[in-house]
């Protein structure tokens, strides 16, 4: 089976700072990969590189067998939640339509095909009740659900999600995460999911890419998220605690937190 995404010996440096180097990763169809790491560890830069918006310092990246380039039609992108301005002239269904064909030139003529596709996706994301609401009036969870729909409306082979759950409450996090999982299964798409908290997606994740201190570890969650591996990665003693299916990382001294407990360290 050909990889959806193939990263080989990739490095990213800004001046003296090495975000990651010699990163090699083969992402298979239907695979769910979580990218975890502190702020500034290069998680978002990795996504930008895959989107073709940031050049690798060295190494290469191939998407479906071709070098990555800006604006690949086979990628669906889910951004971090941001509240839309109240007066934004866009309703939920318009946001989906934009994801469907607004990258093309021309006027947005009504199209039966586009409409059918939007209706289908509205069904997938439980969005019929939201369809005609302005996006500025949607809650965080509602908006992110539609973001998932917007990302999959073009039937992508790879879904890139950049902290899509941040700023959502736990219940909404669960709904949105499950929706992403369900959509990738239905479409056979691979997922690269950047997050600072692995817990909401722990049951879905096939592999974890953990970035820290210019280094990284890749593997199954149970292999990477252990006290030994993370202590080695951070170069200081780190405890990984497991409690009722949740993982808490203690002692990383990062600015972010996997869990509130970490703040106290």
């Amino acid at each position: 089976m050909t990889s959806v995404l193939s990263i080989s010996n990739a490095s990213m440096r800004f001046g003296d700072k090495t975000l990651w180097q010699d990163l090699s990763l083969e992402v298979q169809p239907n695979e769910f990969i979580a990218v975890i790491g502190a702020n500034g560890s290069g998680k978002s830069t990795l996504l930008k590189a895959i989107l073709g918006q940031e050049q690798l310092t060295s190494g290469s990246m191939q998407l479906l067998g071709k070098p990555v380039h800006r604006g690949c039609r086979h990628v669906g992108y889910i951004p971090q939640h941001r509240t839309a301005t109240e007066s934004t002239p866009m309703r939920a269904r318009d946001m989906l339509r934009m994801g469907y064909d607004f990258h093309r030139f021309g006027l947005p003529w009504p199209s039966r095909k586009a409409k059918a596709r939007v209706e289908h996706i509205l069904g997938c994301v439980d969005g019929f009740a939201l369809a005609d609401k302005p996006v500025g009036e949607l809650s965080g969870g509602e908006l992110q659900r539609l973001r998932v729909g917007q990302a999959v409306i073009g039937e992508p082979d790879l879904i890139l999600a950049d902290e899509p759950l941040s700023a959502l409450d736990l219940a909404q996090q669960k709904i949105v995460a499950e929706l992403i999982d369900q959509e990738r299964r239905e479409h056979g798409a691979a997922v690269i999911f950047v997050t600072h908290d692995v817990n909401p997606i722990l049951s879905m994740v096939d592999r974890v890419l953990y970035l820290a201190n210019g280094q990284f570890r890749i593997g199954k969650p149970d292999e990477v998220l252990t006290s030994e591996v993370l202590s080695e990665l951070y170069g200081t003693p780190v405890d990984v605690l497991r409690n009722q299916g949740r993982i808490v990382v203690v002692g990383t001294h990062d600015n972010h937190e996997h869990h509130d407990h970490e703040v106290w360290n």
Binding site: L51, Q53, R70, G71, C72, R73, V75, Y77, P79, S87, T88, P89, M90, R91, D94, M95, M98, G99, D101, F102, H103, R104, F105, G106, L107, P108, P134, G136, R147, Q150, L160
Partner: protein
Amino acid sequence: MSAIASVDLWGQLFNFSDYDQLIPLVQNSLIAGALLGLVGGLIGLFVMTRDMSFAVHGISELSFAGASFALLAGIDVVAGSIAGSLVAALIIGALGSRAKDRNSIIAVLMPAGLGLGILALSIYEGRAANKFGLLTGQIIAVDAPQLYSLFGICAFILVALAVVWRPLMFASLDPEVAAARGVPTRTLSVVFMLLLGLAVAASVQVVGALLVLSLLVTPAAAALRVTRSPILTPILSVAFALTAVIGGILLALGGGLPISPYVTTISFLIYVVCRLIERLRK
């Protein structure tokens, strides 16, 4: 006494005698106004979604400077106005990709443009009406060659907008996702600045530099208060702009006053009504 005075004022503001003979005289202006209403209503929508109202004002001041120098040099005023507009649009587009930077750049450019324009007009020894017209608009100024150039500019803007409508709307409303989808957001923002520059230059000819906002911002702002539909918004915005500019010309016809107070007042009233409708709906 005061009753007579107020009748005089009223007569000056709204005078419809000999109306049937006056209309043909301003036929060109009416056509120009309709074109500008169409362009202004549509461009305004992108001005609003891209949060560039202030840029419109900045560009119009440099457009005024360009037009003033053209008047002084005895060359085509429309050409001067376009040159000023495009210079401003390109500077703002190149230096001000972030809203914060943009506002300060505009605030620096605006008085510089206005100052240069006033300098040119002070030296100019031609008809004073021409001077005043560039700032506040003029009604019967649109002659046939000017109409053709306006028509050309407006047609160009409308065709260009039709071509880039979808990606430009995507980039304006949802820049991050648009960029991820491969929409060339930076190129589009330069293209939009050029179109905006042309639209401002065209509008300066009719409503004047100080009042361009009433055509390029107010109608779209009003439309956005009452609808969020991407189809209804441009339609309403154009309808509002057309009402303001055509209505303004027709009302200004009899009184011999500049056209701009009529256009801006209609435009403003439409906005107020739209806000009231929005308030009532809640």
